[in-house]
């Protein structure tokens, strides 16, 4: 009996919320009604008024496909494959959207609805992890970075075109990321940096902005796999592994830029001494003239990522040692 009482009490307390959502739902349905009623008017109807935009769009891959060489029933809808049925818009003489989807920056359209139009086609390959990705979760719309209606950047239809001066090259892919990721322009100005400002890499060389299975939207499944794409000589296998390096390159390196040589997080020997504090010369206070500290410090004798497959010596790159070499 007491349980029934509790149940009734809960229903009673939830009643205002139920009423509110029912009313809002009914209102939204009524609001959305014109969308359901609109039908496809065909791209010719659009071109009557939006011919200029269509001509500009024909120079893009999407324009050429949708307006000239559609491959399936969705693409045959042309403009309406993205903007939705346009009969109501046509009937209103262009005075109202008539339920059509607007991608303009000042549009009140929900981001999900805009993105759903894109993911009708762009849901495979590099976009397969889009749903649930960091950028999707941040309510980012595809059109926040991409431009659809006219040709813009060299590739990927980005809103930015990139810039070039005699001293710096910023590719479109980099330009589009930096306004939001404001820490990176500063790190890229450090003396030791990934060659993005020279235009030899872009953010998308390492990251997939549409989502990935790995951390930090990395293209590969792990940090190290990502680094090995260019630094293949670090992949190994090595006879003597430096386990932290095998675990994660970022244990010692900054990915974007550092004030220390080789993108190191801390200057050597301090970097090495953060772990190697057990015994011997690594723990001693070292003067600048010490052979353990001058120039490349620990790296004067110890190889950067400890090991080669054929050279001998635990912890050493090894001067040629005939005895050991024969053993190997």
């Amino acid at each position: 009996m007491a349980r029934i009482g509790v149940f009734v009490q809960r229903v009673w307390s939830a009643l205002p919320a139920l009423l509110f959502f029912s009313l809002v739902g009914a209102r939204v349905s009524a609001w959305a009604e014109p969308i359901a009623q609109a039908s496809h008017a065909g791209s010719e109807a659009c071109l009557a008024c939006h011919g200029e935009q269509a001509e500009a769009m024909k120079e893009t891959a999407m324009g050429a496909i949708l307006l000239q060489a559609p491959r399936n029933s969705l693409e045959q809808l042309g403009c309406e494959s993205c903007h939705g049925p346009g009969s109501a818009h046509v009937e209103s003489g262009g005075q109202s959207l008539g339920g059509m989807l607007s991608f303009r920056a000042d549009s009140d359209e929900a981001t999900d609805r805009k993105n759903d139009a894109c993911t009708q086609c762009h849901e495979r390959g590099g976009q397969v992890y889009w749903r649930g990705s960091a950028h999707a979760s941040a309510n980012l719309a595809c059109v926040d970075c991409h431009l659809v209606m006219k040709r813009s950047s060299d590739r990927h239809q980005l809103k930015t075109a990139g810039s070039r001066t005699p001293l710096t090259i910023r590719r479109a892919e980099t330009e589009i990321c930096l306004p939001c990721h404001m820490e990176q322009p500063a790190t890229l100005q450090r003396s030791s940096h990934m060659p993005l400002r020279e235009g030899k890499l872009t953010c998308t060389s390492c990251h997939n902005p549409h989502g990935s299975a790995g951390p930090s939207l990395l293209v590969e499944n792990s940090v190290n796999e990502n680094c090995y794409r260019c630094h293949a000589e670090r992949r190994g296998p090595f006879l003597w592994e430096h386990s932290p390096a095998r675990e994660n390159c970022l244990d010692c390196h900054e990915a974007h830029g550092s004030i220390h040589a080789g993108l190191l997080k801390v200057k050597v020997p301090r970097l090495c001494q953060q772990c190697h504090i057990e015994t011997g010369h690594s723990t001693l206070p070292l003067s600048g003239a010490s052979r353990f500290a001058f120039n490349r410090s620990c790296l004067n004798c110890h190889p950067r990522y400890t090991a080669r497959t054929i050279l001998p010596g635990f912890a050493f790159s090894g001067r040629e040692d005939p005895g050991l070499e024969e053993e190997v």
């Binding site: 891959a61 050429a64 060489a69 491959r71 005699p166 060659p195």
Partner: protein, 200 residues
């Protein structure tokens, strides 16, 4: 050495000379392009081994002193049939006494039919100069053939302490590495009517 660059530029120049005039005249095909040429004076580091390299600024770049061709692009577009071709060259050449091919050059060729297939080829050269003040007693003869002068060999073997003096006047060179990356990508997305499109 330089075979790839010569081959690439040769192919593009040949196609341009043979095919471009016809394509420009053809109806419905739009040809556009852009070539950037100019000159840049560079105040070099007097300690640098190579006048075109100066410290960190040229760590990943080849900044030439004099005439340069920073970029060139040619675009072909047939909107009626959906064909396209794009060629981009970045930092291909510099007017200078030695090798005119720049160390940080990049080429990109892309062509295909919208929505059906696309062929994408890239060639990118990334220099990484660690130091422009390295010294060596070796002299380079040809590619990778390093020789130590007989006089130096015999002098150092006789009096080892002479080595320090030799190093002081040894040849300077840029210590670094270079990554040449080439890629080829073919993408075919036929869709439901792809076979018919391929035949058209």
């Amino acid at each position: 050495m330089r075979t790839v660059e010569r081959l690439l530029l040769g192919i593009v120049a040949s196609i341009s000379v043979v095919r471009l005039p016809g394509l420009v005249a053809a109806e419905g095909i739009r040809v556009s392009g852009e070539v950037e040429v100019g000159g840049q004076p560079v105040s070099t580091d007097p300690d640098a081994s190579d006048s075109s390299k100066f410290g960190k600024l040229a760590e990943y770049r080849d900044i030439a002193d004099g005439g340069v061709l920073p970029s060139a692009r040619v675009d072909l577009l047939d909107t009626a049939k959906g064909w396209f071709a794009e060629f981009r060259a970045e930092d291909p050449l510099a007017v200078r006494g030695h090798d005119p091919f720049q160390e940080d050059q990049r080429y990109h060729l892309r062509f295909g039919k919208f929505g059906l297939y696309e062929i994408d080829m890239q060639w990118d050269r990334i220099p990484h100069v660690f130091s422009n003040q390295a010294r060596t007693l070796f002299s380079q003869e040809g590619d990778g053939d390093l020789r130590l002068a007989d006089s130096v060999q015999s002098a150092v073997q006789t009096v080892p302490d002479l080595l320090e003096g030799f190093l002081g006047s040894a040849r300077r060179f840029d210590l670094g590495m270079r990554q040449d990356t080439g890629s080829f990508r073919f993408r075919y997305t036929p869709g439901s009517g792809g076979i018919a499109l391929l035949a058209s």
